[in-house]
């Protein structure tokens, strides 16, 4: 929290003593297709009129969305609908793509992450990411998890680092499976284990938010179930945003769901409402399998 507070002070934004800024969602009138949220949840991230362009081509059109704190929000929609683009713009991974530009703003705890004073490296530490294909570093299991804490100086001694690695592996349920071979390469694990290793690596730098880009699409059903279980567990401490092609998965794990179509945010709200009584016809069509 201290980092963004510092950024906030520089921006002249007052932050409450608790450090927990609540950004109210915009009134439903601003978002015609929004299902009003009945209960009051603190909001972690807010996107306002976010448009993303790849060169000349616009991939995302004026998306405005609130992401609740310590819940799981799922983005669903057919391929090429802009949900991954939106996810990647939440921790500025789109910066690394040549020719990618954006307009609008993304607020995290009341700070616009695209503001010039924001340090993108620190931002990505705060907002971790898990990718579609498990991508462990070609290093040992231990080094995979220890890499983030090392570069951010989160551990002052070898023991402390060991402690972080053990805790993170334990939280992803991987510790029992790999405790005897911590120094074997991370790439020697099975696909599901690799993905959990990547999640362990993401939580090792103690982020607030974890973005997951179709984390189970390369996994078998058993590994998928294991990762979903893990997400439910992590939700207690982290805000999780997951992009998924699998509507059952969205329905199973998320509290909120947003439906994207052709670069626009069609509808978002409580997951039950989206899946049982969607407002928009396109949502209805997608979740009932008419297209997708």
């Amino acid at each position: 929290m201290t980092f963004l507070e510092g950024q906030a002070e520089r921006q002249g934004i007052a932050i409450g003593a608790s450090g927990d800024t609540r950004v109210r969602s915009a009134s439903p009138a601003a978002h015609p297709a929004t299902v009003a949220t009945s209960e009051e949840t603190p909001i972690k991230m807010t996107a306002r009129k976010l448009s993303v362009f790849y060169g000349e081509k616009q991939a995302l059109f004026d998306v405005s969305l609130d992401i609740p704190d310590r819940q799981i929000m799922a983005f669903i929609g057919p391929s090429g609908c802009g949900k991954s683009t939106f996810l990647r713009s939440l921790n500025r991974m789109n910066d690394t793509i040549a020719g990618c530009t954006m307009t609008g703003e993304v607020m995290v705890d009341g700070i616009n992450i695209y503001d010039r004073v924001v340090d993108v490296v620190e931002l990505r530490r705060r907002i971790g990411m898990v990718f579609q294909k498990p991508n462990p570093f070609p290093k040992s299991i231990y080094d995979n998890v220890a890499y983030g804490p090392r570069i951010h100086g989160l551990a002052s001694s070898k023991e402390e680092l060991d402690e972080i690695v053990q805790t993170c592996l334990a939280r992803t349920g991987l510790l029992d499976e790999v405790s005897t071979r911590l120094h074997e390469p991370g790439t020697s694990l099975s696909g599901g284990q690799q993905q959990r290793l990547c999640i362990a690596r993401a939580i090792a730098v103690s982020p607030d938010i974890i973005l997951m880009d179709e984390p189970c699409s390369a996994l078998d059903p058993i590994a998928t179930a294991r990762v979903e279980e893990l997400m439910q567990e992590l939700q207690k401490n982290y805000t999780i945003v997951i992009v998924t092609h699998n509507m059952q998965q969205a329905a199973r794990v998320s509290q909120r769901t947003a439906f994207f179509h052709l670069g626009t945010l069609v509808e978002w709200g409580m997951t039950e409402q989206i899946f049982t009584s969607p407002v928009d016809d396109r949502t209805q069509g997608y979740i009932t399998g008419r297209y997708g």
């Binding site: 990505r124 530490r125 990411m129 983030g148 730098v205």
Partner: protein
């Protein structure tokens, strides 16, 4: 299989079954012969290429192998203590001791011109070799020693059979009298062929029998060191910048095209540049490995940059994403992930670039590394030759002994090239990583 057979038997529409089958047969036969022909073309090309290579290597070995042996003449040298001042042993008249011993073997020869012909059987540097030996071991003074001297080129050629003694004497470089003296020396057991270590330990000389490659090897080594020290860090820095940091715009496109073109610039152009800039403008020493290395670095740089960029590009983007995702900076991504993973490829490219530089002659000629230098260089600022320029000098020398030495020097150069490429292949295998 049965369904396949069935389908093969199905006849085409409107054709009698037998006719269609015959047609299919013909077509399949044609296809098979075409296949075979195609395979044979490839095989022929390979046989041709390997044959040419084999011809080259075999002819080099045939011409070069005599240079690996050297004929020695054993003489009994008397070193009288009365004539050598033990305090300053280098001042004594070693030419006299040597000549006394040599002429003493042929007491019947009295006339000075004839005696000079005798002296021509042993290398002209013999008295200096004797002096250096005595200076190194002063305890030799006052005794008679049996010492082996390097035979002269003509005696060497005669001994290894390169001179046909049946030829009329005006068509060979050794006279009848000299052959007779040689036969006498052989009869006395004073002639022996040994492995030619001087080829590897001595620097250049006007006399083929004592000319060696060590000066050129050290010169090449220094030049390659300079080349590596300059081009490796610069090449990596350029490759990393172009791949990881540079925006993709018209300027970087232009730079890329120019780097690719630089790799194809004739090497003599780099030599001219070195001459104009390094020697004439900056006034660096002529013939020095420093300048040679700088010119070779200019040539190697594009190779390293191109290989480095290819190796960096081959690192999967998912690794970069993963590192960026945990909050690594661009510089940390490059140092911790991209470069270590790309390093085997970069090193392979570098070694191949250096091997190219090792064989490069033209630019070195222009900056004077083809000078006649009889001492091995003591540092990168001293005049030196390099292996390819040494070959060039020797190939130009008229003495018979240099013919085989040229081939031997080419074999040595090829040996170094094969070694370097072998290291590159080994490293690629050793550090190859799969994702």
């Amino acid at each position: 299989m049965s369904s396949l057979d069935q389908s093969l038997k199905v006849s085409g529409p409107g054709a009698a079954p037998d006719d269609a089958a015959a047609q299919r047969d013909r077509r399949s036969r044609r296809r098979k012969t075409a296949n075979l022909r195609f395979k044979l073309y490839g095989l022929a090309a390979i046989v041709f290429a390997v044959g040419m290579l084999a011809t080259l290597v075999v002819s080099l070995i045939m011409t070069g192998y005599p240079a690996f042996t050297q004929t020695m003449v054993r003489l009994d040298i008397e070193l009288p203590a009365s004539e050598i001042d033990a305090a300053a042993p280098s001042d004594a008249n070693y030419g006299k001791f040597f000549r006394d011993a040599l002429y003493g073997l042929f007491p019947e020869v009295k006339s000075p011109p004839q005696r000079r012909n005798i002296a021509r059987l042993v290398t002209q540097d013999a008295e200096y070799m004797l002096r250096d030996t005595v200076v190194a071991y002063p305890s030799m003074i006052g005794k008679t020693h049996s010492i082996e001297f390097t035979a002269s080129d003509i005696l060497n050629q005669l001994h290894i059979g390169a001179i046909d003694r049946e030829l009329p004497s005006d068509r060979r470089s050794i006279s009848d009298a000299q052959i007779a003296w040689y036969d006498k020396l052989v009869a006395q057991g004073r002639i022996r062929a040994v492995f030619n270590t001087a080829l590897f330990t001595e620097a250049d000389s006007r006399h083929p029998e004592i000319a060696g490659l060590w000066g050129a090897i050290t010169g090449s080594f220094y030049a390659l060191m300079v080349c590596f020290i300059l081009s490796f860090p610069m090449g990596i820095a350029a490759a990393v910048y172009l791949e990881e940091f540079a925006p993709k715009n018209r300027w970087t496109d232009l730079i890329e095209i120019n780097i690719n073109n630089l790799a194809a610039v004739p090497s003599i152009v780099f030599g001219l540049l070195g001459l104009a800039v390094f020697l004439n403008f900056f006034g660096l020493p002529r013939s020095a490995p420093l300048v040679g290395g700088m010119v070779l670095a200019l040539m190697t740089l594009p190779t390293i940059i191109i290989a480095g960029r290819a190796a960096i590009k081959a690192v999967p983007p998912s690794i970069r994403d993963a590192a960026l995702g945990v909050g690594a900076s661009a510089q940390q991504v490059a140092w911790h992930h991209t470069l270590p993973l790309a390093m085997p490829g970069i090193l392979t490219g570098t070694i191949i670039g250096l091997a190219q530089a090792l064989g490069e002659t033209a630019p070195l000629l222009l900056i004077g590394m083809n000078a006649f230098i009889t001492q091995q260089p003591g540092g990168i600022l001293e005049p030196a030759t390099a292996l390819p320029t040494q070959i060039y000098i020797w190939a130009d020398s008229p003495e018979r002994g240099f013919v085989s030495r040229t081939s031997a020097a080419i074999l040595v150069l090829l040996g170094f090239l094969v070694l370097m490429n072998g290291v590159a292949v080994w490293m690629r295998k050793r550090f190859e990583r799969r994702w």
